[in-house]
């Protein structure tokens, strides 16, 4: 078992004829993900890597039964692509596109709620249930099937963490890159609940970042709803106030959303926080022994 994506995932790639879309469609297919269709307006009828391409998401869903979509379209068009997927009945949308205007996402959210569409991203690396399905731009080879659920606001830092887990023989149920934009889809709370409910997940790794209060809220949620062990890491402990470090999310302003506060929030609810990334495997081993 795993969460969100698995062998029943039928993946549609929106923007499949673009540079990133075609490259990663191939990578995902090679990993074993069931990539059933692509969409690229005006390219309907063609194929990429053997994957049939359609003009609209509606046509693709009708023809292939796609239930999940990954978005590689350029940022100015990404919100519209998300809406198109939602309108066509796609259940889970993963938006990789980086640089999507915040107000575009603000306008998208109520529609997704109305249609019951789940969203991950934008500006995220995607997610993977090892040996089942890889949806995103994550390097499949570093993951190992297992029983740790991982969620992160960051990309390469996730890989770094996963690599350390895998190197230590700790496998993963599902790893989710949530993205770092100010307005994003599923976040810590929803994913924590899913891991809590997933029989295949025994422990949870949460990789946070400075800015906002998502980690503080996650800590509160863990206290109230999560019985499985959780360990955490917060990136940006040394970031100077007011500087934006790559992720739009990672801005510290005036003493709120600092790493210090987040670490304190976690420790208060019994979540162990790694000081440096290399501590994570040991912390996990400690909490999982119990």
């Amino acid at each position: 078992m795993s969460i969100l994506v698995n062998q029943n995932t039928k993946l549609l790639v929106q923007g499949i004829t673009g540079r990133d879309g075609s490259f990663h469609a191939g990578k995902m297919k090679a990993y074993g993900t069931n990539v059933v269709a692509g969409v690229s307006p005006g390219k309907g009828g063609s194929a990429v890597d053997g994957i049939p391409v359609f003009n609209t998401v509606e046509q693709a869903v009708k023809a292939t039964g796609a239930n999940t979509s990954i978005i590689f379209v350029p940022a100015p068009l990404a919100a519209d692509a998300i809406l198109e997927a939602s309108e066509a009945g796609i259940e889970l949308v993963i938006a990789i596109s980086e640089g999507v205007p915040t107000l575009d996402m603000v306008k998208v959210m109520p529609y997704l709620a109305k249609k019951g569409t789940k969203l991950i991203g934008p500006n995220c690396p995607g997610l993977i249930s090892p040996d089942e399905a890889l949806i995103g731009i994550l390097p499949g080879n570093i993951f190992l099937k297992g029983n740790v659920g991982l969620m992160s606001r960051s990309g390469t830092l996730t890989y770094e963490m996963v690599y350390q887990l895998t190197s230590n023989g700790i496998g993963q149920s599902t790893c989710v890159g949530l993205g770092g934009d100010p307005v994003a889809g599923l976040y810590f709370l929803e994913i924590l609940q899913m891991f809590q409910d997933d029989p295949a997940t025994e422990a949870i790794v949460l990789i946070g970042e400075i800015g906002g209060d998502a980690e503080e809220r996650a800590a509160q949620f863990i206290k109230e709803h999560v019985t499985k062990p959780v360990v955490a890491f917060i990136a940006g402990q040394s970031a100077p106030p007011g500087k934006r470090m790559g992720h739009a999310g990672a801005i510290i302003s005036s003493g709120s959303g600092t790493a210090e506060e987040k670490i304190k929030a976690f420790e208060q609810v019994g979540v162990k926080v790694a000081k440096i990334p290399s501590e994570i495997p040991d912390l996990l081993k400690q909490v999982m022994k119990k």
């Binding site: 915040t102 830092l157 990136a235 500087k243 790559g246």
Partner: protein, 378 residues
């Protein structure tokens, strides 16, 4: 992206939000002429893209004719948090009774625009948020509805009792929301919003920040941008696919991925070092990118050592290693370099680097410690 107070208030004016009569001045002579035109007293305010200018002495009231050149002269050229004051705003002094705070920003939790309003205006709102959070009223704006008249009225009733002020406020708040949406703002603030002696609402100060991701469709806003030297460097880096932020330390960093880059800085600090920059080179092994990144790092004369931390994901470590070597052959680097390479095909990558005589280490922690050690020696 940020703009100056006077620019924000020009936008307010365009939406018919009442602001003080004011003139932006680049010289003392201009300030004197402006004061003459506006009549005394005037407030002279430094226009810099930094907060806390009041505390720094960048805002002064000129009561007499003699005050104007003296105060303008003091403020022009002043340094506020690393920004040199190149212009001042000379604003007509206004008699007012109460001071309010109103602001709009993005709320991550409701995934909506949020309207904040407080009767405790005129002070830094972050202080109010800390000391007396209940004094800040927050109203989530439904994205499908926008700021409806009834919600604008509800906000106004939270601040004012006089219905005349409620009506003015509701109207003003709706305009402020339109400004926020029309310009893809990330923050719009009036602090303080005051009630004049004539019973009219007036924006005494204004602040606007914008969503960088939306500037492509906001050319009029983008044209207002006045990047500092550091920001120009950052913008230049961005065009080359790099995210660069200058910091104060001496260990130059080159990392792929923002989160990993942040964690790298943390690690350097954790072991007692000081990073010279944040630099995310993204996910390709293109040698040109490495060259650009290295030039950027070395343009900072404080840098005494360069730490390269690459996690090979989709891009394999052996490709990264080849890219690194090809780049380092093309530029002269006269400070020591520490390379840490991990992930897909890391063994092959490290082998390549070893053959090229580059100092390599296995883990992030080792890399940070090694960099600090080398930094101490230099």
């Amino acid at each position: 992206m940020k703009i100056h107070e006077y620019q924000a208030k020009e936008i307010f004016s365009r939406y018919r939000i009442p602001v003080t009569n004011e003139v932006v001045c680049y010289t003392v002579d201009e300030a004197v002429a402006a004061a003459e035109k506006l009549g005394l007293p005037v407030v002279i305010k430094a226009q810099v893209l930094a907060g806390g200018r009041g505390k720094a002495g960048g805002v002064k009231l000129a009561r007499t004719k003699a005050d104007v050149p003296e105060l303008a002269g003091k403020i022009l050229g002043m340094d506020i948090k690393g920004y040199t004051v190149e212009k001042v705003l000379v604003a007509q002094g206004v008699k007012f009774s109460s001071e309010f705070y109103v602001g709009l920003t993005i709320d991550r939790n409701s995934k909506s625009v949020i309207f904040m309003a407080s009767s405790e205006g005129g002070v830094e709102i972050e202080e109010v948020a800390k000391d007396n959070p209940d004094a800040i009223h927050k109203f989530v704006i439904d994205p499908d509805l926008g700021l409806t008249p009834f919600l604008a009225r509800k906000i106004a009733f939270a601040l004012f009792t006089d219905f005349n002020l409620v009506k003015q406020g509701a109207d003003l708040f709706q305009k402020l929301y339109r400004i926020f949406m029309d310009t893809d703002s990330s923050l719009v603030e009036i602090n303080p919003l005051v009630i004049t002696e004539e019973g009219k609402l007036l924006a005494l100060d204004g602040k606007m920040n914008f969503d960088d991701n939306a500037l492509f469709r906001q050319s009029a806003i983008e044209a207002l941008n006045e990047p500092t030297e550091d920001e120009l460097k950052e913008l230049d880096a961005k065009e080359k696919g790099l995210t660069y932020i200058r910091l104060d330390g001496s260990i130059g960093c080159m990392v792929n991925g923002a989160g990993l880059a942040m964690a790298t800085l943390d690690l350097i600090k954790y072991f007692g070092g000081e990073p010279a920059n944040f630099l995310d080179i993204g996910g390709s092994s293109n040698p040109q990118k490495v060259i650009d990144a290295m030039n950027l790092i070395l343009s900072d004369k404080n840098v005494k050592v360069v730490m390269i931390n690459i996690f090979g994901g989709i891009t394999r470590c052996d490709d990264v290693a080849r890219g690194l070597i090809s780049a380092l052959e093309k530029i002269k680097v006269d400070v020591p370099i520490v390379v840490r390479l991990s992930g897909t095909n890391s063994k092959e990558g490290l082998e390549i680097l070893k053959q090229a005589n580059l100092p390599i280490v296995e883990t992030m922690s080792q890399a940070a410690q090694k960099a600090i050690e080398l930094c101490g020696k230099n």
